[in-house]
């Protein structure tokens, strides 16, 4: 199995030669679905070159690169990370809607920022280092 890390989750999928995988797995990892016109999400489709689509498989690395997102891997290519496309991050921030997230508190209870809607939030980082 190949481990794929996305900004907010991680997946184990059967992949070969990098990130060639079934369209079902590609959807599971990215939320985008392979259709005749390309990889699609809602009303948006990103056309893929013929070289990135096979019989019942798709080259996820080629798709992610086309989307503008970084694709990096361990030296042994068993663990990969797909980063958020910078334009996606910039567009989200420029909309000024605070990007939502869920993180555990110190006892492991998940807490979601958007649950605080209706209150002012002072969101601050710190570290022991």
């Amino acid at each position: 199995m190949t481990k794929i890390l996305t900004p907010l989750a991680e997946f184990d999928v059967a992949a070969r030669d990098g990130l060639w995988m079934s369209p079902v797995d590609a959807t599971k990892v990215t939320g985008w679905t392979l259709k005749p016109e390309g990889m699609c999400r809602d009303d948006l489709c990103v056309p893929l070159p013929a070289s990135a689509v096979g019989i019942n498989e798709v080259d996820l690395a080629a798709f992610w690169t086309k989307l503008g997102g970084p694709v990096v891997s361990s030296a042994t290519r068993d663990v990969w990370a797909l980063g958020a496309p910078p334009e996606e991050r910039n567009a989200a921030l420029e909309g000024l809607e605070a990007p939502d997230f869920t993180l555990p508190d110190v006892d492991g209870t998940p807490r979601r920022l958007s649950d605080l809607r209706g209150k002012k939030v002072f969101l601050a980082t710190w570290a022991s280092w």
């Binding site: 991050r89 989200a92 022991s128």
Partner: protein
């Protein structure tokens, strides 16, 4: 509501003593993968974002009360002059007063255009750095420290302005290293540039 997020790849137990000492009644969250820094394009701690009741950012990421006075400290005794300590405390109090004023009256919230203009832009290099860092944290957490360190070094090479990426990697290598001699060399290399850019209040 305060939401404090520990950018702490060593995990909750490593952050716990500070959290217990704070005796806070607000959320104290643990961000082992530095997700928040990815989502909000942060580069250091402490940084803060002000979010209004509708979930809108009214002040983009900025230094949350810290100052560059530490750069003048005596490295042998690790102390600052009384004047520097006083100025540092005054800056912190001023920032916290501004936060309170915003909560009570809405003061200091920026209009949308100004908030947008102050957003730091995510570049392809920064995006790639985040992916390398994410991979590095995973590799380290799964017993592959040497490989993880290579990924983290690449992250810092791609995004040298991020103190968090560099210091977290140094800390994972060895606790204390994030404020060791290499840290001070990097701080000195800043020259006239700030380590903690002051918030424009």
């Amino acid at each position: 509501m305060v939401v404090a997020v520990a950018e702490e790849s060593r995990g909750a137990d490593h952050a716990r003593p500070w959290i217990e000492q704070a005796k806070s009644d607000y959320w104290q969250l643990i961000d082992t993968d530095h997700q928040l820094e990815d989502l909000y394009n942060l580069v250091n701690v402490p940084q803060a974002i002000w979010i209004d009741e509708q979930g809108k950012i009214v002040r983009p990421p900025e230094t949350a009360g810290s100052t560059d006075h530490f750069r003048g400290m005596d490295l042998k005794t690790r102390t600052m002059s009384p004047q520097a300590q006083e100025e540092r405390l005054a800056a912190r109090v001023a920032y916290m007063d501004a936060v309170r004023a915003w909560v009570n009256t809405g003061e200091h919230a920026l209009p949308a255009d100004a908030a947008r203009a102050n957003l730091p832009k995510v570049t392809p290099e920064i995006a790639a750095a985040r992916a390398h860092f994410r991979l590095g944290v995973w590799l380290r957490a799964n017993g592959r420290a040497a490989e993880g360190d290579l990924q983290m070094a690449e992250a810092s090479r791609l995004h040298p302005e991020s103190w968090s990426l560099w210091r977290q990697a140094a800390d994972l290598d060895e606790v204390g290293k994030a404020s060791g001699p290499d840290f001070w060399k990097r701080v000195q290399a800043l020259g006239e540039r700030p380590y903690y850019p002051p918030p424009k209040l």
